[in-house]
């Protein structure tokens, strides 16, 4: 029986309204998921996609919505994000992405030319990622009630391996590999949106990563967990995994690849690249003996050419992420409440 009188699990006194931070990938968003969505839907899946058996096949299923402004930015657009984001979520289960659905919510007055550009780019992105867009839906809302275009995609993929790629598979002794330099997408968007000009144009890292992931599995590498780094950045992702796996993850700040222009922009804005969003990067937890082989497989793909070993899973304090700072001292990495806000001075 449904209990309609149940009180709202998010303390209304504290947050009577939804704030932007509830979607920022930090603590408020996790509270929303853990306290409202998961219990309401009776589901505690803590991974990027759900996996299940259907007949003899094992499938991965996921969905994501895309609300970025501007629609087109250096290195990508909402169209690529909508395809690659969902493809990458499927890949994080080690699945081969196959089919996508797309739902468009369009704002009255959107130039048809813009829509056509988005649609064409989505098709090209789908071809690049090796998936088919097979079903869709369109809604139009009044002018002023949308932000040009919102896109939802859902995706299905086929799991062809017997690994249990999940946070609970992470073990003490595992090594942590990041698939490339971090922070480019978040800085590219911020620079375009806020009209910040740097000496070079920083391009988003938006890219599909299913192929390198499948290659890792095909090479026989014992992959324990995969997670794509999106909102909240590398730091938030690792905290989620440390909590779900009840392990301690120890990072070496000097080993984390950050491009110089991204680092420079972060310095100016007072942001920490560890928390900046990515759209074509993932973290992989791998058995230590496979570390070198895994890096070799990843380096063969242009999208992963800067892949690096950045940390280890150690036995100490479960559920915690720690970092050896550039000057050699150790500190904890905590999840932010919402998005990072640029500092005053």
């Amino acid at each position: 029986m449904i209990d309609f009188s149940a009180t709202c699990p998010i303390p209304i006194s504290q947050y009577p309204h939804v704030l932007l931070a509830h979607g920022g990938g930090g603590k408020l968003m996790h509270n929303l998921i853990q306290k409202m969505f998961s219990p309401a839907f009776g589901n505690t899946n803590s991974h990027d996609s759900a996996t299940f058996h259907l007949g003899n096949a094992q499938l991965a299923f996921t969905t994501d919505s895309y609300v970025v402004q501007p629609l087109f930015f250096p290195g990508g657009s909402i169209a690529e994000l909508a395809v690659y984001g969902t493809v990458n979520d499927l890949a994080m289960s080690g699945a081969r992405p196959l089919f996508l659905s797309v739902g468009f919510i369009l704002e009255e007055g959107l130039p048809m030319e813009t829509l056509w550009q988005v649609v064409q780019t989505m098709q090209q992105a789908a071809e690049k990622a090796g998936v088919q867009i097979v079903t869709g839906d369109t809604k139009v809302v009044d002018r002023g009630k949308g932000d040009g275009i919102f896109i939802n995609t859902a995706g299905v993929g086929l799991i062809e391996h017997s690994l249990n790629i999940h946070p609970t598979s992470v073990r003490t002794g595992d090594v942590l590999v990041v698939s490339g330099d971090i922070g480019r997408h978040g800085i590219a968007i911020m620079a375009t949106r806020e009209g910040l000009a740097f000496e070079t144009t920083i391009e988003s890292d938006s890219a599909p990563v299913a192929e390198p992931v499948l290659n890792l599995i095909q090479a026989g590498i014992e992959v324990h967990c995969l997670r794509d780094l999106t909102r909240g950045g590398l730091a938030s992702t690792l905290i989620e995994i440390a909590e779900a796996s009840q392990t301690q993850i120890h990072l070496d700040e000097n080993a984390v690849p950050v491009r110089e222009d991204v680092q420079g922009a972060c310095e100016i804005l007072g942001l920490d690249p560890l928390y900046v969003a990515n759209e074509g990067r993932f973290a992989a937890f791998i058995q230590e003996s496979d570390a070198e082989k895994a890096l070799a497989v990843l380096h063969a793909h242009p999208v992963c050419e800067n892949a690096a070993l950045i940390g280890r899973v150690i036995e100490n304090t479960p559920g915690r992420v720690t970092l050896k700072s550039k000057i050699g001292a150790t500190r904890i990495i905590d999840m932010l409440s919402g998005e990072q806000l640029p500092r005053i001075c």
Partner: protein, 366 residues
């Protein structure tokens, strides 16, 4: 990256730490004035490299932290006006007033926008002539020139729909307030490099001599901060109390004259309330009468709005170096970044937020 890597070099940091240990013969308490320095100290773990006799106290130099709650309430009231576009630097948006914060005003329909410069707010005023654009002018001497420039340009261009809510504070009077407190523990200061880049450091010289306290102008990278600590400790050990400059790549003795003149043209020195500390005479800036039309407090009739600080918050004691964040009974329990009792827990530069974010586990357990 040039100017970053060499100042975050583990070997250089280690060498400085060893030199500090070598010259230290007894306990000393130093205060870093600026919140940016506090953040760097805790983020990089700089204090963990120091000998146990050296205590770093975290000073009042975080503009978000010292802005009194009544000014936040005024900002919130102004931002709720339907004709207002309220603009602010990012980290002021989450600071709680008595009842709510600016981000919640935004969620309830207020037009609250983050900007990176007051001149962007002025541009917004020109582009939206039917709106009132208000900029929340907070900060120390560092942000004062840009804020003065926005008002000056508005005046020059005759832009009437622009105003600023002023909450400017000054460093030297705060140092004197700390030094004259009967419970003062500070024996030497790391002065804030950015503030001195604007103001120079002549105004610190009488303070160093009057109170016999060494003051070293210090930067924000780990090696900068260790160098500042080294120079303060060396003075203390030698019994000297001078103003020295450890940040000469950005600061000279007289500072930026153009910026100082602009500040002087637009602003005048007035008493200011500091959150958690109270009113300090001659410690802030307000608009001169020639520019008073740009004062948002008057324009929106909130001059007399008052508010009480939360009584449980001890941020005043923390910013004067009398307590450390984890010595507060509410730290990490009733007071967290999600539901802060005071501003030191909100701003990323606030001492409480820095401790919470980077080391709450060790500190709470000890």
């Amino acid at each position: 990256m040039k100017f970053i890597d060499e100042y975050r070099d583990a070997e250089a940091a280690k060498k400085y730490a060893e030199s500090i240990a070598k010259i230290t013969t007894r306990p000393w308490s130093l205060m870093e004035v600026c919140g940016g320095q506090t953040h760097a100290i805790v983020k990089f773990g700089i204090d963990t490299l120091l000998p146990p006799q050296i205590t770093l106290l975290h000073g009042p130099g975080c503009p978000v932290c010292v802005t009194p709650v009544e000014l936040i309430d005024k900002a919130i009231e102004i931002a709720a006006h339907p004709e207002v576009i309220f603009t602010s630097f990012g980290d002021m948006l989450r600071v709680p007033g008595t009842k709510t914060d600016l981000l919640s005003v935004k969620a309830s329909g207020g037009d609250v926008r983050m900007v990176y410069s007051p001149l962007d707010a002025l541009k917004m005023a020109r582009e939206n002539p039917d709106k009132q654009v208000v900029f929340f002018a907070v900060g120390f001497e560092t942000t004062a020139p840009a804020n003065a420039m926005a008002v000056y340009q508005a005046h020059l261009l005759g832009i009437k729909n622009f105003s600023i809510l002023v909450s400017h504070v000054l460093v030297p009077p705060a140092l004197e307030a700390i030094l004259t407190s009967p419970t003062n523990r500070v024996q030497g200061f790391l002065a804030a490099g950015h503030v001195c880049a604007v103001m120079g450091f002549t105004e610190y010289e009488p303070i160093a001599h009057k109170y016999h306290v060494p003051i070293v102008v210090t930067g924000f990278e780990p090696v900068d901060i260790l160098q500042g600590v080294y120079m303060v400790v060396k003075q203390l050990e030698e019994g000297r109390a001078d103003v020295e400059n450890a940040y000469s790549r950005a600061v000279n003795r007289i500072g930026n004259r153009d910026a100082q003149e602009l500040i002087g043209e637009v602003f005048e020195v007035i008493p200011r309330k500091w959150r958690g500390i109270g009113e300090i005479p001659y410690s802030g800036l307000g608009l001169r009468k020639e520019f008073i039309d740009y004062d948002a407090e008057r324009r929106f009739g909130v001059v007399h709005l008052t508010a009480e600080e939360a009584t449980e918050c001890i941020s005043g004691l923390i910013m004067q170096g009398e307590k450390k964040p984890h010595e507060c009974p509410a730290f990490g329990s009733r007071c967290t970044p999600e539901s802060p009792l005071g501003a030191t827990m909100v701003s990323s530069e606030g001492a409480c937020a820095a401790y919470y974010r980077y080391r709450r586990f060790e500190e709470v357990q000890s």
